[in-house]
Symmetry: C2
DNA sequence: ATGAAAGCGCTAACAC
DNA sequence: GTGTTAGCGCTTTCAT
């Protein structure tokens, strides 16, 4: 069932059907009604492929993420879809699972389907993988790591803003030994977060012991390992700022394992504000980098670029603000050293619990 | 840059280019080499839209999920993409966010893009939403809830298998008061899980107090509420089986709030085995329903249907097995009643902790 | 084995 | 205001 069938049944030309469907105002109301009637009856939907072929516009945007199973991404995918739908765009999502081959394949799939633009939301990448896209003048939008070139947009994240709030919050709670667990320092974004932390610490007049700077992996396992290291220090920190939420979750998990209470014994702050952050126990205080907002900005950057007649020579820049979200994983710095209590806490809590568990009741 | 450009530069006809690219064996090696050379030089990728238009095959499958931000789905989306890529299929993912309008829109988007088949992986739905797809003979695959009609496949989940293992496991641990927190009973799948539980309990000769059957929402909040209710019972259960993992996570969260230890005071078992289940504290014992396997079965069901010349009159059926995954949220039933200890546990643990926190050290 | 040409379903320029 | 027609980039007969 094609436009011809509709035209035949409505006794008009295919051009009139096309005009009607596309809302060209010159169509007589009477004919328009006749056409719409047939369209409804037949359940006719135009073939997007044919449309794209002739118009040269696919109405598809690509979205490349690192891995959809990482809790950071689904919100972005959802946000992107939400807006795309409103604008009648389809979205081609690909997940690279950190594999350059998959990434290259993603790019190829995008080109074959003739996407009008691509949002690249990945942790780290090899820029040359996008050469194909660039040479085809496909608009691209990057988060934080892209070049300033025509047809490219960048969403810059203002890390300092939120991290400064986090550090000031900890300082106000009298924390002085504040550790930072970074992401892999091969990632620009991880470096930027750490730099923001250092600057914020300096601003509040706190010095950072280099022993308190640990390189993590932006994973739960990384957080677990990092806290172990930190607790082995002669003077463990009273607060830990993490480069992302998964790391913070690992820290909290390990704290639990070691019988150290969050936030009483140690305060923990994350970064990203993934949805999971509200669900863990205790709910995580974290720096919010709105995933929905990232999706919105990325989509509009692409849309703006597609609609622009001549590209800006240096591309476009957008800025995303970050801000602290207070929940329950932070508290006043403990009066006595964590180290002191750590040795005894676990044993004692266990003993107390065992006593209770033995069944003796009031 | 089109096939014509390639043809011109290789000094052959567009037909030869087409044949070369599609591996039609009649092409002379010499010409083939010439064509490939130009293709590489130009970075030519065929236009999929044009291909689809003429061949009538879009090489796109649709995937409709309830909401990508629900931790259950990302693994399915990833699994589906992984296989699709291997078969040179593109995938159009849509997330209905539980909105029938969005669902209807999803269907429309699928049809407009001329997908060759659609996998519908949603909790509950209104079947008539798919009438458009059905009338167009688009192959459909459902999880557990679809009709037996031509061009439709169903992946039946063998709930009993895994749930029986779970119940037997609890019985072996001497649990007798076992509660079940179901999903919303408007969902067929939720009802099926509860039914499996009831049957398994009967098999091991345990009776189910109707007070122990709580209807949840397949959400963390549902689990929290359900455990509260359960704990208000004169004789709270010693074990809780949940209809999905998010519910189990809510239960564990509430247990923590109330100072009740998992698994020492209460055993908890989930269902689904979402990735998160390994990450919480303690790691959750749960019934695995492999999301990757669901994706794989769904994709192959669609592929088989597309390749089949004449559809089977009653569609196809596939079965997914489920099985218990032992982790740390289950243990022997406590000797003394939970109720007994519950009244004092929290108070006492708190007191013990406070004593320690006051800084008194060995 | 290769090329010429028809046509997939649609939009847009051009006639009337 | 409406119809006719020329492609969009490709695959696939049908000749040769």
């Amino acid at each position: 069932m094609s436009i011809h069938e509709v035209a035949r049944r409505a006794r008009v030309s295919i051009a009139t059907v096309s005009r009607t469907i596309n809302g060209v105002p010159t169509v007589t109301p009477q004919l328009s009604r006749r056409v719409w009637k047939v369209v409804k009856e037949l359940g006719y939907y135009p073939n997007t492929q044919a449309r794209a072929l002739v118009s040269g516009r696919s109405r598809i945007f690509g979205l490349i993420v690192s891995e959809i199973t990482n809790p950071f991404f689904p919100e972005i995918v959802q946000g992107f879809e939400d807006i795309a739908v409103q604008h009648n765009y389809e979205i081609l999502t690909t997940s690279t699972v950190h594999d350059p081959k998959r990434m290259a394949l993603s790019v190829r799939r995008m080109i074959e389907r003739r996407v009008e633009g691509v949002a690249i939301v990945t942790f780290g990448m090899e820029e040359e993988l996008f050469d194909d896209l660039k040479s085809r003048q496909v608009p691209l939008v990057f988060i934080d790591v892209g070049p300033s070139l025509p047809r490219m947009s960048n969403i810059r994240i203002d890390y300092l803003q939120g991290i400064r709030q986090a550090v000031q919050h900890l300082a106000a709670l009298r924390h002085e030994q504040i550790a930072f667990i970074s992401g892999p320092l091969t990632l620009k974004t991880a470096v930027a977060r750490e730099r923001a932390f250092l600057q914020a610490m300096e601003e509040v007049g706190l010095r950072v012991d280099s022993k308190y700077e640990i390189e993590g992996h932006h994973t739960m396992e990384g957080g677990i390992e990092a806290l172990k290291q930190l607790l082995n220090l002669p003077k463990p920190p009273t607060a830990v700022l993490c480069s992302n939420d998964m790391t913070a979750i690992g820290v909290m998990r390990q704290a639990y394992e070691e019988g150290i209470r969050v936030p009483d014994d140690i305060s923990v702050i994350g970064f990203d504000d993934i949805r999971l952050a509200q669900f863990i126990t205790p709910p995580l205080t974290t720096v919010k980098m709105s995933q929905t907002e990232i999706a919105r900005l990325a989509f509009h950057a692409l849309l703006a670029e597609v609609q622009r007649k001549s590209p800006a020579p240096d591309g476009s820049e957008y800025v995303l603000r970050t801000s602290l979200v207070l929940r329950d994983s932070t508290a006043m710095a403990p009066k006595f050293s964590l180290q002191h209590r750590r040795a005894t806490n676990r044993k004692r809590v266990k003993a107390a619990i065992d006593e209770i568990a033995s069944g003796r009741s009031d």
